[in-house]
Amino acid sequence: MVPVDYYIILSAILFTIGALGVLSRRNPLIIFMSIELMLNAANLAFVAFARVYETFSGQIFVFFVIAVAAAEVAVGLALIVEIFKSKKNINIDEMNSLKG
């Protein structure tokens, strides 16, 4: 018997860690990974709730999230690779020619 709240708390902690990663890391790849972590945290919550309600729809939602994450990864990595080709560097802090 694990209260569902525990799962939610866990997912919230993971989500927060992911957010912190986005905020604090300079490597876009790690930022990206942090985002994946956030999505994972959300997925965990989803599955937990799905368990509570005993429906599939929560699980299926997670399935779609995973698929979308894959799509995002494809585009995201392509972008990062591209910008590396141009800049020879992927430090996100150096991508600030646009500002003000």
Partner: protein
């Protein structure tokens, strides 16, 4: 296993047509030689036009389909028409621009079609799953399009847009999870029913809704989720920016309207204050920061942020059943006004833009009126419309917006809106000052589609302001279900 019925297809017909068309075009494009990508543009436009035609036939139709995951109603049809028109304008602006800046690619138009289809899906979404997927479907092409010119700034804007967009969609997913947790469903109607029944944990639902709001706020560029906007708008190719500024904003707002008005009216007491604050902060921040801009793309980006605030204002009283329909109708109306002026002004920007990002400083507009009086006049009309000055559509739109804010009992918000409009006059007028009151020798590109777009939007901005009732009627009936 059930097979989709006719109703299912009919409900989603515009989206389906456009998606199929885009997929087919993807193949066709392979056989179109590089030098003649104009054909792709034409075919893409044709696809949108065809879809638009279907969409128009659907005015007044109402149905739900695909396990009530999507809905067809006046609201979605209104949004579809608006989005498809935006797509047309987007193509018209892109046609010459891509040629001029040496970025002619068939995929440009195909991605644009997909993005439009995502936006339409967003408008029709009746389930949070669809909302999420549609959000991604409209976003991913935009990420790519932002980076498509492959200049450094363009790529930078793409990466920024992408990372922040993904970050924001994380909140959407988490919010959806919480909503699911609270109600056991992702279907908007079911959520509403659950929430109304009062059996769920209200707070969980509220937090979920708030996190959804973050996601939508990001898409429509509401403060404090707006910060990507200026950078992305500036860095992205101008034709993409124009499309993005209108399309993404419309899609974000229609989804916001639908989701919140359908699923969360019961949360209004909590959410109203948040919406109020978002709207106020967005208007203030957008307008204030715009003042100091010297680059017209950035300035218009901040203007876009500010306008998100204005439109949000219409949405603040969404929980008040008496006011909500007119308020949301006002929001829709203003979206139209904004979209029209937006395309027009970006059209002018495109006309003046030079390679290597030259011609984008506001000073570069000096002397425009003397040399190209029609273009300057059109730009003046757009600027006035964005300020909310008669005789333009923007003025009528703002009138409605402020009215709904007042009717909803938010005079403070209306006042903030008005005062920030005054602030905005200052930076919009700066463009006018440069065009009319300074000496300069600007050069413009003469492109037929560009001219057509600016001309059409300018005339529409003025003329429709005199006969706005049909538009308002459309918006109003769209909302009244």
């Amino acid at each position: 296993m059930t097979t989709p019925t006719y109703t299912d297809f009919y409900t989603l017909l515009p989206y389906l047509i456009l998606t199929v068309w885009a997929c087919v075009l993807l193949l066709v494009d392979l056989f179109i030689p590089v030098g003649r990508k104009g054909i792709t543009a034409f075919l893409a436009a044709l696809g949108i036009a065809v879809t638009l035609g279907f969409s128009i036939t659907q005015i007044g139709a109402e149905s739900v389909g695909f396990s009530s995951m999507v809905a067809l109603d006046g609201f979605s049809t209104f949004a579809n028409i608006l989005l498809l028109s935006s797509g047309l304008f987007g193509i018209a602006l892109a046609y010459g621009y891509t040629q001029r800046f040496n970025m002619v690619r068939g995929e440009y138009y195909i991605l644009l079609l997909f993005s439009v289809s995502g936006m339409m899906l967003m408008a029709q979404a009746n389930d949070l799953i669809i909302v999420f997927l549609a959000l991604e479907l409209l976003s991913i092409p935009l990420y790519v399009l932002s980076a498509i010119s492959r200049k450094l700034t363009s790529e930078e804007s793409g990466v920024k847009y992408f990372l922040l967009g993904a970050f924001a969609s994380g909140f959407v997913v988490y919010g959806t999870a919480l909503i699911f947790g609270a109600t056991g469903s992702t279907n908007l109607a079911a959520i509403f029913a659950q929430a109304a029944a009062g059996v769920t944990s209200g707070l969980l639902l509220t937090i979920g809704a708030a996190l959804l709001l973050v996601g939508f706020g990001f898409k429509v560029a509401a403060a404090p989720f707006h910060m990507w906007t200026p950078d992305v708008y500036q860095g992205a190719p101008t034709s993409v920016t124009a499309f993005m500024a209108a399309g993404a904003k419309i899609a974000g707002f229609v989804a916001l309207f639908r989701v919140f008005a359908t699923a969360f009216p019961s949360l209004a007491p909590e959410l109203t204050t948040i919406l109020w604050a978002l709207s106020a902060v967005t208007m203030i921040l957008g307008n204030l920061t715009a003042i100091s801009q010297t680059n017209i793309k950035r300035m218009l980006a901040y203007s876009a942020i500010a306008h998100a605030g204005y439109i949000l204002m219409a949405f603040v009283p969404y929980g008040n059943a008496k006011v909500a329909p007119t308020a949301i109708a006002a929001g829709l109306f203003y979206l139209v006004a904004y979209a029209v002026s937006n395309f027009g002004s970006w059209g002018v920007v495109i006309a003046l833009e030079k390679a290597e990002g030259k011609g984008l400083e506001i000073e570069d507009y000096a002397g425009l009126a003397k040399k190209y009086p029609a273009l300057a006049a059109a730009m003046t009309v757009f600027m006035l419309s964005l300020i909310g000055f008669p005789p333009t559509l923007g003025m009528v739109g703002k009138f409605y917006l402020f009215r709904s804010a007042l009717a909803g009992g938010f005079p403070g918000l209306a006042l903030i809106g008005l005062v920030t409009s005054l602030l905005s006059a200052y930076y919009y007028l700066r463009v006018v000052v440069n065009m009319y009151m300074k000496e300069g020798d600007p050069e413009i590109e003469r492109e037929p589609w560009l001219a057509l777009t600016t001309g059409f939007t300018a005339i529409a901005t003025v003329v429709v302001s005199f006969v706005p009732q049909f538009l308002f009627m459309l918006a109003y009936t769209a909302v009244m279900r």
